[in-house]
Amino acid sequence: MRPQPPSGTPAPVCGMSAGGCDGAADWPADVSDGSSLPAVELPRKRKGDMEERNSTDCKMEDDLSRSEEEDQQVKIKCFREPHRQIEKRRRDKMNNLIDELSAMIPACQPMVQKPDKLTVLRKAVQHLKALKVGTSSAFADSTNKPSILPQDDFRQLLLRQAADGFMLVVSCDRAKILFISESVSKILNFSLLELTGQSLFDFIHPKDINKVKEQLSSWEYPQEHMIDAATGLQVQTDAPIKPTHLSSGAWRSFFCRMKYSRVAGKQEEKHQLPCTAKKKDTSRYCTLHCTGYMRSCPSSQLDSEGDAETPSLSCLVMLCRPLPHGSPEPPKHINAKPSAFVTRCAIDGKFTFVEQQATTVIGYLPQEVLGTSCYEYFHQDDLQHLAEKHRQVLRSKEKIETQCYKFKTKYGSYVSLQSQWFSFTNPWTKEVEFIVSSNRVMSRGPGHIKDEEAGRLKAMQEEIPIIPSLSNGVGTMIYAGSIGTQIANELIDSYSRVNSSPSSGASSPFGSTNEKCPLVSPPISTSTAAIGASVGCTKVRHSQASSGGGAASSSSQPDSRTAAGASSATADSSGQVSQLDLDGMVVPALSSFSSDEAAMAVIMSLLETEVNVGQPGDYEDLHWPF
């Protein structure tokens, strides 16, 4: 079954019908040279195989060229181009070929003038004759089926160069290696002597032996183990066997690990049969992809033990290609050095995957960190720039480098990290699904930072009355975590905008990489709750968003936003405010907090900000419950 390319794909798929992707005119018109001899003299030259398959145009040309010589006035039935141009193209093509030919023939090289066509052809004949002298006679005469490449060369080409594998013929009953091609010595470092006639299982990884046994055993067409690619399900056992199945039923494709020797040609290897139980098996294995067919081989030729009674031996003839040794090359943007570790977060910054080696750096075990927001570990000085980068990475296909920042370890101290962030976009849905972070340790924060940090936190506490009586940890963590959620919500919004395709022509306000975190306090502090207003502001922007999607970058936020109403006073025109200044946060409406619960209520309302957007005026009416 050949799956057809899905018609719903976004990629432009060229039409495959009569028009073809290229016009027929672009088809290499391998017709005989129009000005050559008429049909009578060399009829067989008329038909290039290409021609028969080509457009009717070419056929037309051929008929015409037969009759005309230099006369351009010929009855033209139907043409896409004037005949003159077709002729010209043909001549040009021929000239190009002749040029290529002269480049390949050494005798034509030192010529001062460009040799003419006939000379080049004559030199080519001489060259071919010279080449044949030095080669095997495999294709000298046409008694055998000649081919462009002699068999040995072909084998070389296939096994050593292209496929980089070896051929293996194994008997099905005892897994005896009946034949193995010489190329195996380059791959496994065993000589043919060491392998031929041995049992295959001696060289297979112990855990793969069962797998290989299974592949060797089923000579009969085991229908219940087949999958039907049309439905993706297993073939029903009672389904009728189609004729094409019988041959493909003998097809095998599997992976297994085979032993290889580190040093080539070590004779001792031969005596160290794996069955002699060595306590510690220090053998190394490489993974091979084995593909091939079941065949029945006449046993008299293959089995040296010469069991003449057995009529035919089934054997498996396979091509074995090694997979690359070791782990696949790590992608360039992920740093694999030991002082680095990789993490993955959801789009709101919550960790979903943390490598084990992170523990040596951050102190936390991965499970202690999973599900928590990365912002909870960022130092407050870095919150602004990291939030900015967070925004950037969600909208960019490039990897984003952060500056150095501090990450809070389990013990309270900070470690200096620098990261590369890269967002993964689902190729199908085109939505960002997660962010991969490759983190590098820059230096370990000295202990005294702790004091400094404690002081800062205290200051922050005082100036952010939003969390007056909550302890350092929880309050700031929750607060910080909301930043990530905010940024994620913007992105999700942009997707729903795209999907609902609103009509507005205004450019997307949140596609801007210049845009700052919405929790930035405006220079003008108003009586409205800055945070609440920022939230409202964000929403306002959303409501006026166009279908620009996440990638659009616009640095000018037009008046349409400022017309939103009172909240617009706090609308952040890009570039106005440059930093997340928590100290400057003015939350007058919240300053009357006295209870934890109220504080929590506000926090939770931030966290649970609904994505659905109302009218611009909605947030003006927002009554904060305090």
């Binding site: 001899l37 690619a229 067919y293 003839v317």
Partner: protein, 379 residues
Amino acid sequence: MTADKEKRRAISREAARRRRRVESEVFEDLSRLLPLQQSVRDHLDKPSVIRLTLSYIRMHTLLTGKTGTKAEASHKVKCGQVTDGQMVRHEFNGGCGEEEEKEKYDADASEETNMYLRILEGFLMVLSTEGDMIYLSENVSKYMGLTQAELMGHNIFEFSHPCDHEELRNNLRVTAVWSGEKRDFVMRIKSALTHRGRSANLKSATWKVLHCQGRSKVCVAPSSVSCLLLTCQPLPLSHTLLSTQTFTSQHSMDMRFTYCDQRMTLLLGYSTEELLGRSIYDLCHTRDTNCLTKNHFNLCFKSQSVSGRYRMLVRGGGYVWVESHSAVIPNAHSSKSRPGANQPLCILCVTYVLRCVCGLWFKATFTVSTHFIELYLSK
């Protein structure tokens, strides 16, 4: 005046005819020197003769030429090397007379080549850095519907999908010094085969997806030839034998699970219910994101893909190295009321487990992360 003109014209026409005759004779000589069957030779036009000559010379250079790197020098390629052949002779022949032996050897060698091609389940292609198909093995007709003689010497860009051209160009770039770079990519190629396997007009060609693997090769002397040696294989999923370490799964086009067979539960520990709706990206090691993305991309745009190795996390701890062969198929479970091109699609994956569970220290992490992911997704 007119008579003179006529006479001159007649002379020039005669001269032209003579020239053409001579030229045709040289073409004849050339084609006779090419190792082709008579039937093929009879049907060659002049440009094809030149193309095939070029291929022949290039291949000869490739196989006998000196290469620039030490790595290549370690395995010298000699034209007519018979080391493999001797082995074959030993195995397949009983031990006959000299001449008979040689003939038998040739016949066996030919059979062996056929066997190689058959077990390869694909064809061999040698591409120049400009994309000329210098060499194609004979069985190319089985996959593309066009014969070796028709195709050799032409340019791959004429036969491959335009959207794959850039990737092809990137793969063709061979740096002069380093030989032996590996290549592994998927491309779409025109195939003039009908569903029944018959060759049709190229105008009604369909796209066939091929998995191309191989390496680059650079020859320095006598003339500089750099090229790519590739095996091109279609990717049939149909009737793949499922062994104990293989399982199938189905996904929606965004790679979220829609189905997995019970083998997956046995191998990885997840029940079908747990997986439905979950993205495969959640299930795999972050360092392999790139590999999975490329695989997904190939599926979306080329409809088939081979993933290469990546790690799948096991429920309850550790991970396994796996490789997936996938294809886009029409969703069999959808309603049949809309047949044809608008049928919703899904992805079918056959995943081979390469190695046993590794990284058991991963245990705690993943169990926890499953928990958190579930929490997160349930919001």
